[in-house]
Amino acid sequence: MAVSTNGDTGQPTPRRRTNRLRHRTTLAAYGFLLPNLVGFLVFTFLPVLAALLISFTNWDLLRPPEWVGIANYERLVSDSTFHRVLRNTTVYVLGTVPIQMALALLVAMALNQRIPGRTFFRAAYFMPVVASTVAVALVWRWIFHADFGLLNSALYMIGVSDPPNWLSSTRWALPAIIIMSIWQQVGFSMVLFLAGLQGVPQHLYEAAKIDGASQWDRFVHITIPMLSSTTFFVLVISVINSFQVFDQAFIMTEGGPANATNTIVFNIYRYAFQFFQMGYAASMAWVLFAIIFVVTVVQFRYQRQWVHYD
């Protein structure tokens, strides 16, 4: 902290006033920046550059890194596990984001009414968002237990004689993780939608009512367009976060059975910290970045067609 006051004290006698002032401001500015800048350079900026270089090497951390050019990226193109991982992650994003957002909008609209217990309901939907994913993934592993889980017990009770094996089934493990993730994320989007809804001017609804618009018309022609900038924001953030899914897959299934729930980040973890193939793992991380970047840019490019800012 002492560094940051350097710019304001102990200056030698200056020749020109403006120069001295400018000099002092620059010193002060770098004093304020220094702690964050050093940490940022060491632990974020330089590692990003290093990660790019590492992705062009083979490096097991025992021998020195070996430059292999784009061989790691070429290997990704023909790596069937990586294809599986890309498909799983895409299915996860497509399964989680739209359902989660639709439910969040429904709940937000319900909670935007004057009803008793609003704060309670809002807290109930939001609690999973603040909860540790590891802790809630454990309880969901228990809920999805094929023989004694709460879910299958409930399914037996309503007469389903042969419920899925969920986490131990190659077909149902990914849907199970999607269900858990929808549960965990709905509250986050709900809060943003709720804030968006409160910004919609009431007089629009009243004018539409006077014109005889039905409730559905008001939803389609007022709520949806007025919320579009919120929806866009929620969509972009949810997609970015969903592509990075890891904790659930690690705790609930360890990517299994037979890679059925292996995700991009889980695969990066395995290659980097279990197989110690740093270069190959780094190339996967860059592919993840490229996917997130392209998907985000595409969303920004097409937002003009449906997002209204006013």
Partner: protein, 296 residues
């Protein structure tokens, strides 16, 4: 909530007109309740189930039909938890790590944000673009080089490895810079006339006016680091340095189907955060709408 009067108006006007009412609530309200009550129960069910399982006997866990009320209550599941793994230590580690990261990240981000938002200096815009550019890069890209760096420094399995790489937030700097830009310049000018230094302007003018943004950043930095899993998993390897999330994973590795123990551990990891949330719900919600962070 300040917006309540606005929303009250349509509802109040409707009530005398609405002939359909039951116990003073309109049909619409009953429909809302029919949607909200069951879904809210579904949302809370996993928490209740976690708590209930954590208090059951090992055998009662496998009963059919399942019961939400443990019989008998087995409080000793929790004492056993502390016997099988050093959960007090995990807890302490999580407090130290999340607490230190929060203090460092908020302090250094606020200082850097002050320089970016309020001072003119050569290189400012280039540096700021450098910060912005890294915001889009997922944490998984930097975790590999950071692991190698910490390994070469001999820092694996230390507090500095858990704390320092997370403590200098480009996002926090960006968030606070945007917030500091909204503070009117006249306040600063008055302080300059009075001969205040930049440090005095920062601590006496800018910081006191940025309470909501600073507390939102602090809350979510703490929450994110308390719940963080991949990073502490990678940079620690001893039980003594595990945080709660990593400790829970170890517990799962050793007692894969000891559901009462696993649930007791989960309850322990959730209680502090959920308690704070229930008391400070307003700040969490405001923080999310202010910053758009907190999602996964």
């Amino acid at each position: 909530m300040t917006e309540r009067p606005e929303r009250d108006r349509p509802a109040r006007r409707e009530r005398p007109r609405g002939s359909r009412s039951l116990l003073g609530y309109s049909l619409g309200n009953w429909l809302l309740a029919a949607f909200l009550v069951p879904t809210a129960i579904l949302m809370l069910m996993p928490f209740v189930w976690m708590l209930s399982t954590s208090l059951k006997s090992a055998g009662a866990v496998f009963e059919y039909p399942p019961s939400f009320i443990p019989n008998p209550f087995r409080w000793d599941n929790y004492t056993r938890l502390f016997e099988v793994l050093p959960f007090a230590r995990f807890f302490l580690n999580s407090v130290i790590v999340a607490g230190s990261v929060t203090i460092l990240a908020v302090a250094t981000s606020a200082m850097a944000a002050y320089a970016f938002a309020r001072l003119r200096f050569p290189g400012r815009d280039t540096l700021f673009i450098g910060y912005l550019a890294t915001l889009m890069i997922p944490a998984q890209v930097v975790i590999i080089p950071n692991f190698i760096l910490l390994r070469n420094l001999g820092w694996i399995d230390t507090y500095q490895a858990l704390i320092l790489p997370a403590a200098f937030s480009a996002f926090g700097t960006f968030l606070l810079r945007q917030n500091f830009l909204t503070i009117p310049g006249e306040l600063e000018d008055a302080a300059v006339v009075d001969g205040a230094s930049h440090w005095q302007i920062f601590t006496r003018v800018i910081l006191p006016l940025s309470g909501p943004a600073l507390s939102a950043l602090a809350i979510f930095t703490f929450l994110f680091n308390w719940n963080s899993f991949l990073y502490p998993l990678v940079v620690t390897n001893s039980t003594a340095m595990s945080t709660l999330t990593v400790g829970l994973n170890t517990l799962q590795g050793q007692y894969n189907t000891a559901w009462t123990l696993l649930m007791a551990g989960s309850v322990l990891a959730l209680v502090p955060v959920l308690t704070v949330f229930l008391f400070a719900q307003r700040y969490f919600i405001k923080g999310i709408t202010l910053t758009g962070i907190g999602g996964r």
